[in-house]
């Protein structure tokens, strides 16, 4: 588990997550979840939702003031959507942070590495050629296969050119792989115009149809991926110093790198499989934490999970209320809110540093 500690690394790692920042992040997540639960296209009062929640607690004789449809809206439609948003947001941010650590590359994220495009290609193949009705279970696996193939290809191409060390070559390789896979995906899509609708619905994604079923679909993958990544947060700090240094500490750099890439890709693919391609979270949230709190992965990884979850839950609140009762694609919201906010943080922290 704590490979770094076993090998006497504490000297290079930064301090633990500061308590105040942890509290701020958790408070933000809690606030986001509450807002997510209370706000929607259908106005339902705070008090009513609270009493309905109490009615679900056993041994409390509180009667719910909501009718059957409202009950279903709050607990079967809104709540799973909030939970799924939190899972997906936390996972994308955690994966992004891990990619950045593994590749020692601040620009690494599921999009630039081609993971998202690969996952999209895998899912499109299943939708176009797979038997109907298997989508729910097979989609995450197919996206995972596509995503891992893409990131391995990007890494191999990048390494063959620039020794895998420079920022530019890896990203260029990722962009190349992404372009190729996107082209392949569009080709398959055009060959199967009868399933075009389904593929587009999936690619545009969003949390519109989220239910508890989706939460259960991603949960195992996210749990495995997040556990592996979070357990290696100290290792990422060791990798950050350099491969040679990490090796002198007794780390099997290649094996660890492969394990972490696989874990991050599995998590990304699972998230993408239920929510479609949602950009921006994976790259912005880790940098936000890095700029505001600490550059140690021991801090960045856990905080990214919490901040990413809060961010996506809030983004989804906007997605379903701005044009209510119409929906706005969530990717539009993440970029529209995220980009200016990130620019602001970048500006203030850089100028004060």
């Amino acid at each position: 588990m704590s490979a770094a500690r076993e090998h006497g690394l504490p000297a290079v790692v930064a301090p633990r997550v500061g308590v105040p920042w942890t509290l701020v992040a958790l408070a933000a997540l809690l606030g986001a979840v509450l807002v997510g639960l209370l706000v929607g296209p259908v106005p339902i009062g705070i008090g009513e939702i609270a009493r309905s929640a109490l009615a679900r607690v056993p041994f409390l004789s509180v009667a719910t003031p909501l009718d059957a449809a409202q009950e279903a809206i709050v607990w079967e439609l809104r709540f799973p959507r909030v939970v799924l948003g939190a899972l997906v947001g936390g996972m994308l941010a955690l994966s992004g942070a891990s990619y950045q650590g593994v590749f020692r590359n601040p620009l690494a994220d599921p999009y630039l590495l081609g993971v998202a495009a690969g996952a999209g290609f895998g899912a499109t193949l299943v939708i176009a050629y797979g038997p109907a009705g298997v989508d729910g279970f097979v989609l995450p696996l197919a996206s995972f296969a596509g995503g891992i193939a893409a990131v391995v290809a990007a890494y191999l191409i990048g390494r063959s050119v620039g020794g895998g060390r420079t920022t530019a070559t890896l990203i260029l390789a990722g962009v190349t792989v992404a372009a190729f896979l996107t082209a392949a995906q569009v080709f398959v899509q055009q060959q199967n115009s009868d399933t075009l609708n389904e593929v587009y619905a999936w690619l545009l994604g969003g949390l519109t149809t989220a239910g508890w079923g989706d939460v259960l679909t991603v949960l195992p993958y996210v749990a495995i991926s997040a556990t592996v990544l979070l357990l290696h947060r100290r290792t990422l700090d060791a990798l950050a110093v350099g491969d040679e240094e990490a090796r002198t500490l007794g780390l099997d750099v290649t094996r660890i790198r492969l394990l972490l890439v696989a874990a991050a890709t599995l998590g990304t693919a699972a998230a993408v499989a239920v929510s479609g391609l949602i950009g921006f979270v994976g790259i912005v949230v880790p940098h936000l934490v890095r700029l505001m709190v600490s550059s140690s992965y021991r801090v960045i990884l856990p905080l990214s999970v919490v901040v990413g979850a809060a961010f996506l839950v809030l983004a989804d609140v906007f997605a379903r209320t701005i044009l209510s009762p119409a929906e706005l694609p969530i990717g539009v919201v993440t970029a529209f809110i995220g980009a200016p906010f990130f620019a602001l943080v970048l500006r203030t922290t850089r100028s004060s540093a």
């Binding site: 296209p41 449809a69 799973p80 009705g133 055009q190 609708n197 519109t208 119409a326 929906e327």
Partner: protein, 302 residues
């Protein structure tokens, strides 16, 4: 050289100038060709009766066969799946390739969107008839009539329109007046819908149905609705235009969280429409109207 060109141009102009007069002279039995038709991209002239028609619009394909011009059709696009005997090809109506179309040596090409085809095929003297999505039934009838004029099958077109009109009028009349019902039309499994401004939306409006997507129509005629809004709107009728593509039905809809509380599910008024018929505006719209009528009647009686 220049003189020769000029002469050709002048001759062409003379023919154009003369032709309306020629038609007027035989007004009793109007000569069917050449015919000049108005399209959204301008006027198109069809010099003689087409013998090799290419249709890149699924709706136009259905209409061509309904009016009897099917035997003149040499190729249809990849989405023209009705009638089955239509010569389906890899041609695409959305990303059309002028060269591939020209390869069929057509003397009439019918498309849904221009996509630069009028200009490209115009260089080869191939007339292109653009028939965009009809805004309402009147426009749909007009397109069938126009196809009749374009192909020389005017009688067939008139008969098709008469039959459509009769069946639709009868279906509308068969529905008794009653309380206003609400309707949700589903395009995709992620709740894209249609407002009353669309062709299919107009059909629901003729039945006096209140479309729940209308309040979301500020942004688009095809808005994506949020699930909780649909459940809260409690529609009386749900029409599924994603039954063929995505296997949706009463059982899948009632299995969606929260949806079993809606009047449509409780009254079993969740209707599988043929995805294709519901997204086209050809002759088969008459049977769609009959289906809608049957379920409106059913929902009113419960």
């Amino acid at each position: 050289m220049v003189k020769k060109l000029l002469a050709v141009c002048l001759a062409g102009a003379a023919v154009l100038a003369l032709s309306p007069g020629a038609v007027a002279e035989t007004a009793a039995t109007p000569k069917p060709f050449p015919v000049v038709l108005a399209t959204p991209t301008g006027k198109v002239t069809i010099p003689r009766q087409p013998k090799r028609i290419v249709s890149l619009s699924a709706t136009a394909t259905e209409s061509l066969y309904a009016i009897g011009a099917g035997r003149r059709v040499v190729a249809v696009d990849d989405l023209s799946n009705y009638p089955a005997r239509a010569p389906r090809t890899k041609l695409s109506g959305y990303t059309p390739n002028a060269e591939a179309i020209a390869g069929y040596r057509p003397d009439l090409v019918v498309v849904r969107t221009d996509s630069g085809l009028t200009e490209a095929l115009g260089k080869l003297k191939i007339p292109v008839l653009v028939q965009p999505e009809a805004a309402n039934l009147v426009r749909a009838y007009a397109q069938v009539t126009q196809l009749g004029r374009a192909t020389g099958y005017r009688k067939g077109a008139a008969a098709t329109v008469r039959s459509m009109r009769a069946r639709i009028t009868k279906a509308l009349a068969s529905v008794p007046r009653g309380r206003t019902l609400t309707v949700y039309h589903e395009l995709t499994t992620d709740y894209y819908s249609v407002t009353s401004r669309t062709f299919i939306g107009q059909i629901y409006r003729m039945f006096g149905l209140r479309n729940i997507a209308d309040s979301a129509g500020g942004t688009s005629d095809y808005p994506q609705l949020s699930g909780e809004y649909i459940v809260a709107s409690n529609p009386d009728l749900i029409f599924l235009a994603d039954s063929k593509c995505c296997g949706q039905s009463l059982s899948t809809v009632s299995g969606r969280p929260g949806w079993s509380t809606t009047r449509a599910v409780r009254g079993r008024n969740v209707v599988r429409l043929d995805d294709d018929v519901a997204s086209r505006w050809g002759p088969r719209v008459a049977s769609l109207v009959q289906t809608v009528a049957a379920y409106v009647k059913r929902a009113r009686s419960t």
